[in-house]
Amino acid sequence: MRIKKTYDDYIVDFISYSVLIILCISIILPFMQIITISLSPPAQVTSYGLKLFPKEITFEGYRKIANNSLLWTGYKNTIMVTILGTAINVFFTCLGAYPLSKKNLPGRNMITAFIVFTMYFGGGLIPTYMLNKSLGLINSMWVFILPGLVGSYNMIITRNFFMSLPSSLEESARVDGAGLFRIFLVIILPLSKPIIATIALWYGVGHWNSWFSSMLYMTDRSKHLLQYVLRMILFEGTKVDEGAVEIDQVIVNTETMKMAALLVATVPILCVYPFIQKYFVKGVMVGSLKG
């Protein structure tokens, strides 16, 4: 039976379609504008307007960006930190979550509380900075990985996932003589692909988007991360890092070049994002489960 559309239906449909369309336009339009600016000659972008398509295409902005060695070392550093960092993050998160998933482990609640407490209280910026400095992490790539080795929240949701696994598999492996660590590597981890994918994506995007620790801890210019280099390019001439501007870069970057840099830093996320999106959505669901 087909129900005839009522007055209400039209109102609801109209509102919901228009809100969603406006929202999507507000997201897509800026990107089109940025692509256009990055491809236009600098003189053309100084005036107002919607620039959905370039009138004249030049790759000057991209050529200048290609010559910016900082951007490429930033790229290289970020890729390295993202891959290595994520792998280490995931391993240690699972390693910690596994014992805590054992309901009869003595002291389990105390240890969990010890970890959860750090989600809500911390030393703050300066003590953290001082600690990392005294550990010799300044100008070391490890500063991007070690201080954030394990996220408490990620560890708790991983623990909850492990708790949902059937214990009979582990028991039979133990009867067969497998050690604890072996059970963890050979049985638990392969069964936990959904949660591993979820936290790996979270850690990975975190590393990819990170810039603040680069600003804080790196004085060696060849060790900066991509997002921080982008920040320098975008906000040059404002109050960012005035002392560190190289002489040949004192000339304020053109809009064309800035937008080219912005796109170059965004494209990898834009390319992988549609494919990883659904895992993220699942992850939010997993995370919203009661702890």
């Binding site: 209400d8 919901s16 800026p30 240690f92 030393g123 910026l125 300066i126 988007n209 810039w211 939010v284």
Partner: protein, 317 residues
């Protein structure tokens, strides 16, 4: 008789000792696995908490934490009586409050709207697009925001001039800066924030809607009498936690958009802590400000959690 009791006691002791031994045998491996994580938490999470004692000292890096002199509550006095702290505190609260009243309902409305879309393909594409800004760093988002709101190039000002208005330099105008923060926050997070509400909506029993249709309910009625009430528990929990986070400002967002012209309205606790500590090298003072914020934030979250526990089974611990 007595010796029997002693014997029993001895045996009990023995089994206790044995049980500790067998406990270690049984669980030792687990503790070994936990060891690196515990060391990590002690060094990197509890280590900085030790550093907090510099708020009660006049910290000089050369003298170290132990060697620096005690000054008691001096830095807190400076903070509470100084010219700059209260405006910064006020900015933090105002910005968080605006974000709460505008930013909190936005994902709920979006979830309801997405749920009302029947065209599956459009729905999917729209969702994918709306989640996207969540994956961009605040450096990129602020770059985009500044470009879009530019007084000489931005499309928004272009429309304003078409309407015969003067262009507005939104990002550098104290009257507009907070609006920019709230709006860009919504733009970046609304799609992503809607997921949790969509999950809640998908858990609603479809029979409720069917029954309502048979009773002649129209769509707006179904939204107001079924969807919204079913969302209530999730909304309440999210609201409690959002209130608990009211003193936490988004450093990444605000720092990237902040400029000298809007300091008076946009300087918040986290940006202030950063500037005082790592730019002006007022280590002790800055740590005091950070500690003040952390304590309030901690108290708020604890309160939020206990309220959440009381009103529902949702709670973090």
């Amino acid at each position: 008789m007595e010796s029997k009791v002693i014997k029993q006691k001895c045996e009990l002791k023995k089994t206790k000792k044995q049980s500790i031994k067998s406990l270690m045998q049984k669980y030792g491996g687990y503790y070994l696995m936990l060891l690196p994580i515990l060391i990590y938490f002690i060094i990197f999470k509890y280590g900085p908490m030790y550093g907090i004692i510099i708020t009660f000292k006049e910290f000089y890096p050369l003298k170290g934490i132990m060697g620096s002199e005690w000054v008691g509550l001096e830095h807190f006095k400076t903070m509470f009586t100084g010219l700059y702290f209260w405006p910064v505190f006020r900015n933090t609260i105002i910005i968080s409050f605006y974000k709460l009243i505008w930013g909190f309902p936005a994902p709920i409305l979006l979830a309801i709207i997405i749920n009302e879309i029947k065209a599956a393909k459009f729905k999917k594409v729209a969702q994918t697009v709306s989640y996207m800004p969540h994956f961009l760093s605040w450096v990129i988002v602020s770059g985009i925001v500044i470009e879009m709101l530019s007084p000489t190039r931005g499309p928004i000002n272009y429309f304003l001039t078409l309407l015969g208005q003067e262009p507005i330099y939104f990002v550098a105008d104290p009257n507009w800066f907070r609006t920019v923060l709230v709006a860009s926050g919504i733009w970046q997070g609304v799609g992503w924030g809607s997921i949790i509400y969509l999950a809640a909506i998908s858990g609603i029993d479809p029979q409720l809607y069917e029954a309502a249709s048979i009773d002649g309910a129209r769509r707006i009625q179904k939204i107001t009498y079924i969807t919204l009430p079913s969302l209530k528990p999730v909304v309440v929990i999210m609201l409690i936690f959002a209130c608990g986070g009211i003193i936490k400002d988004n450093f990444e967002q605000i720092y990237n958009l902040l400029n000298l012209k809007v300091y008076s309205v946009g300087d918040v606790i986290s940006t202030y802590t950063y500037e005082q500590g790592l730019v002006n090298l007022q280590y002790s003072y800055s740590t005091a400000v950070g500690l003040f914020k952390n304590i309030i934030s901690f108290a708020l979250v604890i309160t939020a959690n206990s309220i959440a526990k009381r009103v529902s089974e949702y709670a973090i611990w």
